[in-house]
């Protein structure tokens, strides 16, 4: 039993921290706010060179064959930097192709993801914004050449830069996941702006979009299990990223409380501030335990992996919101300004809170699992 990172894992964490401190400073995040793509091609390629994009992909397809723990370590650091770009959705989509794809699909997409030539995402949400597989309203109809897809997908992260979208749709066999390229006829992309300008969401419309037979990912009708698998990984990945944002807010608050003086003393000497910081640390440390327990459980195929993923998402979502919010309170007026960087992380944590199932959704999954 060892809850600590191995030396390789610690090395990955340290090097990610060092790289992002240098190459993903707040100024870089800000420079992407006005950018139409919202992400930097140069940064993406450097991440590929560092081996981050193929981290969890098999060595045969240009990856490093590592697991969810390592992915979570990276995502925590990316959250800490409020990194703007499609790392999480690309990682998730690629892991689904690796899990369920044919050899041809893997050859087509996985090396391209690992080298930074392709980005990917998952169109989880339909019109009614429900994370359950039963809620998918998009239809798949058979044609002589393959299929056509019709429906509306909402809040798809980074779809405007993706080379391939995983699109769940209901066909005659049931829920099925398709690999859809955005250039397909009848597919429309409409970016929407959320509070976190460094997270991009896109509404995707599908009007009889033709896709070939070989774009089905996994078995036709096998989409629910695959989406459940993906949702768990997404939940843990989002938890890791929120944890990073929260840790950054805590660090900034503690640093500020040491130097900001009022009434002739550093404000950190006042219990009102010190106790708030202690509570924030408690939430961050518990979030660390929840996130990495769940990541390990997914890697190990532990009996409680489904519960652990839901616990992590439900707990860390609440904790990160509280910690990031309290950090604004500790800072006072300066924390509420556009110029100060706190809102980068505050907004990142908030943007991830509803994604891959919000707290209410995961708490309901938990109760279903333990009590029926």
């Amino acid at each position: 039993m060892d809850f600590a990172f191995s030396s390789d894992q610690q090395l990955l964490k340290n090097s990610a921290r060092a790289f992002l401190d240098e190459h993903c400073k707040p100024a870089v995040v800000r420079s992407m706010w006005e950018d139409p793509r919202g992400e930097s091609e140069g940064l993406w390629k450097e991440m590929a060179q560092l081996g981050w994009l193929g981290l969890s992909l098999p060595e045969a397809h240009g990856g490093s064959g590592l697991g969810m723990v390592e992915t979570a370590i990276l995502l925590e650091e990316l959250g800490r930097a409020a990194y703007p770009g499609p790392y999480l959705p690309t990682m998730l989509a690629a892991s689904a192709i690796d899990e369920a794809g044919t050899d041809a699909q893997k050859k087509r997409w996985l090396p391209a993801v690992a080298t930074g030539d392709a980005r990917a995402t998952i169109a989880f949400l339909d019109k009614d914004l429900d994370w359950g597989p039963d809620a998918v309203g998009t239809r798949a109809e058979r044609t002589p050449q393959g299929w056509t897809l019709t429906g509306e997908k909402r809040f798809v992260p980074w779809a405007h830069v993706a080379n391939v979208l995983l699109v769940p749709a209901v066909g005659p066999e049931g829920l099925t996941v398709f690999l859809v390229e955005p250039s397909a006829r009848g597919l429309g992309l409409s970016p929407v702006s959320g509070m976190d300008l460094a997270t991009r969401w896109v509404h995707v419309s599908l009007d009889r979009v033709p896709v070939a037979s070989d774009t089905v990912l996994g078995a036709a009708g096998g989409g629910a299990a695959l989406l459940g698998w993906l949702l768990r990984r997404g939940a843990v990945g989002a938890a890791a990223e929120m944890l990073g944002a929260a840790r950054r807010c805590l660090d900034m608050s503690v640093g500020y409380a040491k130097v900001r003086e009022q009434f002739g003393q550093p404000i950190g000497s006042f219990q009102a501030i010190r106790h708030k910081c202690a509570e924030m640390l408690l939430e961050v440390e518990n979030s660390h335990s929840a996130t990495y327990y769940a990541a390990w459980a997914l890697d190990a195929g532990a009996e409680d992996q489904e519960l652990a993923a839901s616990v992590a998402k439900a707990y860390v979502g609440d904790a990160a919101r509280k910690v990031c919010g309290d950090s604004i309170q500790v800072h006072g007026g300066i924390g509420f300004t556009w110029e100060y960087d706190l809102h980068l992380y505050f907004k990142r944590a908030k943007a991830l809170e509803p994604m891959y199932g919000d707290g209410d959704y995961h708490r309901e999954l938990i109760v279903r699992k333990i009590a029926g």
């Binding site: 039993m1 335990s289 190990a300 439900a314």
Partner: protein, 401 residues
């Protein structure tokens, strides 16, 4: 990172599980004699003082083995050993700071519960500000004469010995004038008055010392070293049996789920009510996070890392959780949750300290955790100063010092 149990720990767990399946008493232990007998059985099986070195009668076990035993005991709701304060931290304090003579005299009888121990720290006017304590000990050569009052003394009425903090020098700054003694509770100068708690039971007491006698040979460490010794002592108290505690929470949670299937409101079982389900999900997630955190602490202890000020995070986390837990549980259960005598099987749950009771007892007992052994506010001060490195507050007593 690898959260699998090592093969030898699995083997140990299996043997432990078998032993408790065969030996756990099937009825509540009512008298002190019954509890002492159970303690003796545990001791003879090697399940008491597991972390103590072998030379002092312990087992020299790993923290993991100790955690496994507390976990297995919780699984079958086995009554805890008695003398918890003695074995958990007074004994270790004697092992670290005591003389060889003190070790020979006290440790074995503490382990076997032949002698029960209590802690004489808090006073009516020295709670969170423990260093402000006023009980004084006057040097009479071979012995000291002790006068003063202690409060919140667990096991006071049954204790044979106490570990005492008292002032031996009023002229030096307050933290420096405190000494630590082992005090015989069975003497005319010591009077114990039980203190009834909000749970209705009297686990605590007040202790009045009037010209009581403490032997010079029972001084721990040097004169004036008491505060320093107390710091290590409190550290032991905060390390603890976190895994077993979480398992007791989890068994209570299973009872809660049972209750929501049997109790009905608005014509349907509670479990079909979305608001109840949301609360259950919230408790479960919170409870599991306490378990993960316990495993994390355990893995660090197992590697020999001292918990240090980090143990304040653990204590703050589980005691605050415990309040949230039983508050939500009683919201779900309604008036059923307030019964003092069980009417259904699901009403019977242990408090986190392992005492049998009902939801009402667990709910009331949950108010103690954030006060005893350093209140939540004190823990937050410790975390702020020693973990986060925030500046110390400017305090009147520190300015004087």
């Amino acid at each position: 990172m690898d959260l699998n149990y090592a093969p030898e720990d699995l083997t140990f767990r299996e043997a432990t599980r078998k032993w408790f399946a065969a030996n756990t008493p099937t009825h509540d232990l009512k008298t002190l004699d019954e509890r002492k007998a159970w303690h003796r059985t545990l001791y003879e099986a090697g399940y008491v003082g597991m972390l103590w070195p072998k030379e002092y009668g312990g087992r020299g076990a790993t923290p993991m083995q100790q955690a496994i035993v507390s976990d297995e005991m919780a699984r079958v709701n086995a009554p805890p050993a008695i003398n918890g304060l003695g074995i958990g931290f007074i004994g270790p304090t004697i092992i670290v700071h005591g003389t060889e003579q003190q070790k020979q005299r006290y440790l074995k009888k503490m382990l076997t519960a032949e002698e029960i121990w209590c802690q004489l720290y808090s006073e009516p006017n020295a709670g969170s500000d423990l260093a402000g304590l006023k009980t004084r000990a006057e040097d009479h050569g071979e012995h000291f004469v002790v006068n003063g009052q202690k409060i919140w003394t667990s096991s006071g009425p049954i204790a044979d010995w106490g570990i005492l903090l008292c002032r031996t020098d009023a002229k030096v700054p307050k933290h420096k004038g405190i000494s630590c003694f082992l005090l015989n509770m069975r003497q005319p100068g010591v009077e114990v008055r039980p203190l009834k708690q909000i749970t209705g039971s009297s686990l605590f007491s007040e202790v009045f010392m009037t010209n009581a006698r403490a032997e010079r040979s029972d001084l721990i460490g040097n004169l004036g070293q008491g505060w320093e010794i107390a710091q290590t002592t409190l550290g032991y108290e905060r390390g603890g049996n976190s895994l077993g505690r979480v398992t007791r929470y989890a068994s209570a949670f299973n009872q809660l789920v049972k209750a929501t299937k049997e109790l009905r409101r608005h014509g349907k079982p509670l479990i079909e009510d979305a608001a109840v389900r949301a609360k259950l999900g919230r408790i479960y997630a919170d409870l599991e996070v306490q378990r993960y955190a316990a495993l994390r602490v355990l893995s660090a202890l197992q590697k020999g890392d001292a918990p240090g000020a980090g143990s304040s995070i653990t204590k703050l986390s589980y005691t605050e959780f415990e309040k949230r837990y039983y508050e939500l549980a009683l919201e779900i259960l309604g008036p059923e949750g307030q019964l003092l005598a069980p009417q259904h099987e699901f009403d019977e749950i242990d408090t986190s300290s392992g005492e049998p009771g009902t939801w009402a007892h667990a709910f009331l007992w949950s108010r103690a955790g954030t006060i005893y052994s350093g209140s939540s506010e004190i823990q937050k001060n410790v975390i702020g100063e020693r973990v986060l490195g925030l500046p110390k507050e400017i305090r009147a007593d520190r300015v004087k010092a």
